[in-house]
C-alpha cells in the first residue's frame, strides 16, 4: 500500500526570509509592571529587535540592573516576538527604528556574537546564516 505523501506548506518565514530581504532594527523602552504608574523612574529596560524581512531574527532585552537577554530565531522562538514587523506597529512608531550599527553595538556588548556562533546550526534567519558563513 502506497503511503500518501502530504507536503507541508512552506512556513511564511521560509518564504520571506530570503537573502535580499530588508533588514530593519528597532529599539523601544519597556516598563516593568511595577514601574507602570511611577513617573520619572530610570528602571526602564530597552527592547531591541532585528527583523530579517518580515520576521524577527534577533531580540535583545537590556535592563539597568539585570543581565541582558539575548534571543535568536530558530533557537529561542518561544520567547520571541511572533508578529510580523508590520503587525507590531514598530514601523509606524516614531523614533523606534534605529541604525544597524546601533543594534550591532549593543549586540556585541552583550556577547551576542558568541551566542550566535554557539547556536549557529539552529539559526533560522537567512541573513544571519549568511553572516555566519553557513547559508544553505
Amino acid at each position: 500500500q502506497k503511503a500518501e505523501q502530504v507536503q507541508a506548506p512552506a512556513r511564511p518565514q521560509q518564504v520571506d526570509q530570503d537573502k535580499n530581504a530588508q533588514q530593519r532594527y528597532f529599539k523601544i523602552p519597556f516598563a516593568r509592571p511595577a514601574d507602570e504608574f511611577r513617573d520619572g523612574n530610570d528602571k526602564h529596560g530597552m527592547w531591541f529587535a532585528h527583523f530579517d524581512g518580515k520576521w524577527i531574527a534577533r531580540q535583545m532585552e537590556v535592563y539597568p540592573d539585570k543581565p541582558a537577554v539575548i534571543l535568536v530565531s530558530g533557537v529561542d522562538d518561544m520567547q520571541m516576538c511572533e508578529l510580523s514587523v508590520e503587525e507590531t506597529g514598530l514601523t509606524r512608531r516614531r523614533g523606534a527604528e534605529i541604525l544597524e550599527n546601533e543594534f550591532e553595538e549593543e549586540w556585541q556588548k552583550f556577547k551576542g556574537a558568541e551566542y550566535l556562533k554557539k547556536n549557529a546550526a539552529k539559526v533560522s534567519s537567512k541573513y544571519l546564516q549568511t553572516k555566519l558563513g553557513i547559508a544553505k
Partner: protein, 48 residues
Amino acid sequence: THDPNAASNSGEKREGLTSSEFDSFLKERAAAAETMPTISAQTGQQPA
C-alpha cells in the same frame, strides 16, 4: 487579519503607536524579566 485602512479610520491616535498584540507581548516579556535575579543579587554584592 489587519485592515490597512483601520489605522486611518481611527484617527491620529493609532499613529505612532505599536499594535495591541505587540504591547501585550512586550508586557509578557517585562513580566518575565521580573523573575530574573538582579545583577547585585547574582554577584552577591549589596547596593551601596
